[in-house]
């Protein structure tokens, strides 16, 4: 399933194909499946036993690029849709536009580089996508400004339960959510695949406003930097050490009681878990937790090395443990009658 989900190209604002792919994995007999005005996909299973509504979300957009103009020589200028490292782009194979025509991101060969060119990293402004055309007219027949550009990167099983792919952020979260939607709970479960997370958490706020959940859980792929050379206190998560629970990032501060409940649940069920030891980045919780009168929100993420690159690396063991943990947390919330996450009269 992760292979299928990551293969689909769907950047922010271009989530049509990935939405249709996800739809295939949802049981239409038990879920009411709808989309909203911005394109997020909702799968809601209405409960009969409880008034409680719990939203579980994962954004389905991936990091991508957009064509901004075509040069006289038939090359494409592009811009990133989301947080991006210029150094990752040169010499990569890409696919452009609706017809996914092949292209490469050109970089002056080392033989021709002079002085500072060798030392400095190429900036996106200098990089052009070569689609094999010799002039503007030729290129414009195939591509126009506004077309999407995607990394081309094969899914690889590296053995040892480790996989490599593009778009693990956040098709891995989508995969967990699909697994979770196979279970039945006595509260109303609102599965939500959001759009445009990478360009500013745009779908999530709308979804929270529409679904009005009592509690929200956000599923993500998150940064993992347990690689040689990184100082120990800067390692945010570790591959293979289980789902990472976020306490804080740039846009959200997970509900502290909900975080405690998640960590306790992991312990009780003997599920490997880690705390995300970093504060950078952002995720859909940022918009969800301040929606309406405020929504208790927490984020559970799967560590992904080399995130936002075409070659992200993830452990299937972490994936399985995340599925187990999310299910266990929801099961626990089902039975928590006294849990008050929303204040009240003093």
């Amino acid at each position: 399933m992760i292979k299928d989900l990551t293969a689909v190209m769907g950047a922010s604002g271009d989530e049509y194909d990935i939405r249709e792919e996800i739809r295939k994995h949802i049981n239409n007999d038990t879920y009411v499946v709808t989309t909203d005005s911005i394109g997020s996909l909702y799968a809601v299973r209405k409960a009969t036993k409880s008034e409680k509504k719990i939203m579980v979300t994962a954004h389905m957009d991936e990091l991508g690029f957009m064509v901004t103009s075509v040069t006289d020589s038939g090359m494409l200028k592009i811009k990133a849709l989301g947080g991006f490292d210029d150094r990752v782009l040169p010499s990569k194979s890409v696919r452009v536009g609706k017809n996914k025509i092949p292209g490469v991101v050109g970089l002056k060969p080392v033989h021709l580089q002079e002085g500072d060119e060798k030392k400095q990293n190429a900036k996106m402004k200098q990089l052009l996508v070569d689609i094999g055309c010799f002039n503007k007219e030729e290129a414009e027949k195939l591509v126009s400004p506004g077309d999407y550009v995607y990394y081309e990167s094969e899914f690889v099983d590296m053995g040892n339960g480790i996989i490599k792919s593009k778009a693990l952020d956040n098709r891995t979260g989508c995969g967990v959510l699909i697994e979770v939607l196979k279970e039945e709970f006595d509260f109303t479960l609102q599965g939500c695949f959001t759009v445009q997370e990478e360009v500013g958490l745009r779908g999530a706020g709308i979804a929270a406003y529409n679904l009005k959940p009592d509690i929200a859980l956000v599923l993500e792929g998150t940064t993992c930097s347990d690689v040689p050379g990184e100082e120990e206190h800067k390692v945010v998560t570790r591959l293979g050490q289980g789902p990472a629970v976020s306490i804080i990032d740039r846009y959200s501060y997970s509900n502290r009681r909900l975080v405690d409940l998640i960590l306790e649940t992991a312990k009780d069920n003997n599920i490997k878990v880690q705390i995300r030891e970093g504060v950078g980045g952002g995720n859909d919780s940022g918009k969800i937790q301040t929606s309406l009168e405020g929504i208790p929100t927490a984020m559970i993420a799967i560590p992904c090395r080399y995130i936002h690159s075409p070659s992200s690396v993830m452990s299937m063991d972490d994936f399985d443990n995340t599925v187990r943990l999310v299910k266990a947390v929801l099961r626990r919330l089902e039975n928590e009658k006294e849990l008050n996450l929303s204040g009240g009269k003093l």
């Binding site: 501060y253 509900n255 502290r256 975080v259 030891e277 009168e293 405020g294 208790p296 204040g343 009269k345």
Partner: protein, 327 residues
């Protein structure tokens, strides 16, 4: 009022961890309001019922502080700021965790020059000899407040967390003074302001006010070669015309000006090139809320030794208590 501000600044309530501050403020507010409640984000909403206009007075109760991100084998803590902490101010400060554990902020190597100071090379020393010993006292995700004890110099008050317990004190004093009032007043003590105005947004959504006034501190420009506009401590509360987050609504601003003239209290205007307040999210809540900003001039903001003038706070409270009746 000095005793009130001492109590309010003594309590620790770092962004996202405002429970103790909220409990203290709820106690102080109890005699003056009809209903007190908290919400999901931890905002404290105190309602003085009335049949007239719904007016929201807001001050944030969170203060800047630190959050632990990592504990190393030797028992030292790595951390980052909760809110805009200044790395120059942070070095060798003391911090206090909720359970009373005290730490000192150190730097990896003795920094040669100020410009070499880096937050991610700093650590907190809680005197633990090992990781095992440290985790008995503190865990990753725990927050701590800076220690900056309270002092009085004539009319000037010095402490940590005057941003924005000054505003909280003004709201409590306003509640004490307001007495009979047609309008329904919501005294809202917000959370997570320092993290991006996060508490005020859902609070404003819930309260649905017809008018709002936000009370916060604002940089005073009365120190040697200060860059900010010439707002002076002791020259009265500042009616903030605009900052990065909002422009005060002309009618609400005018209400403050007229009221100040009527009851004869000093006031000054402030136009801020930087910074923002909860007004940024309250003013654009739902269909829009006419909102003004009232500021207590403050020196050394976000340091453990912030300084305000007690008369500015007293005058701000007098002004608000009268203004909400005339709105």
């Amino acid at each position: 009022m000095i005793e009130l501000i001492r109590k309010l600044t003594d309590v620790n309530g770092v962004s996202g961890n405002e429970e103790a501050a909220a409990a203290l403020i709820a106690d102080e507010m109890k005699p003056y309001v009809d209903e007190i409640r908290t919400d999901t984000l931890g905002n404290l909403i105190c309602v003085k019922k009335g049949k007239g206009k719904r007016i929201m007075l807001a001050a944030h109760m969170d203060e800047i502080g630190i959050i632990v991100t990592h504990i190393d084998d030797k028992g030292f803590l790595r951390f980052t700021g909760l809110g805009g902490i200044n790395h120059f101010y942070s070095l060798y400060q003391k911090v206090a965790f909720t359970n009373g554990t005290i730490g000192v902020i150190g730097h990896e190597e003795e920094p040669g020059e100020l410009k070499d100071l880096m937050l991610d090379k700093m650590y907190i020393d809680i005197g633990a000899g090992s990781r095992e010993e440290a985790v008995k006292k503190v865990k990753v995700g725990d927050a701590a407040a800076f220690i900056g004890s309270f002092a009085v110099n004539g009319d000037m008050v010095v402490s940590k967390a005057l941003d924005d317990r000054s505003g909280c004190a003004v709201l409590i004093e306003t509640a004490r003074q307001v007495g009979d009032c047609e309008n329904e007043i919501y005294f809202v003590f917000t959370t997570q302001e320092e993290l991006g105005l996060r508490g005020a947004k859902p609070a404003a959504y819930a309260v649905e006010p017809e008018m709002a006034i936000v009370v916060d501190v604002s940089g005073a420009g009365d120190t040697p070669k200060a860059k900010t506009l010439p707002v002076k401590c002791g020259d009265g509360p500042a009616i903030k015309v605009m900052d990065k987050s909002a422009v005060s609504h002309p009618e609400v601003k005018q209400l403050l000006v007229e009221t100040a003239k009527k009851i004869g209290i000093p006031y000054q205007f402030k136009v801020a090139a930087a910074g923002g307040t909860d007004a940024g999210v309250i003013s654009v809540s739902r269909g829009g809320v006419p909102t003004a900003m009232l500021a207590i001039p403050c020196r050394y903001i976000h340091s453990p030794a912030e300084m305000v003038n007690i008369n500015d706070m007293a005058n701000a409270a007098k002004l608000l208590a009268e203004a909400v009746k005339n709105a």
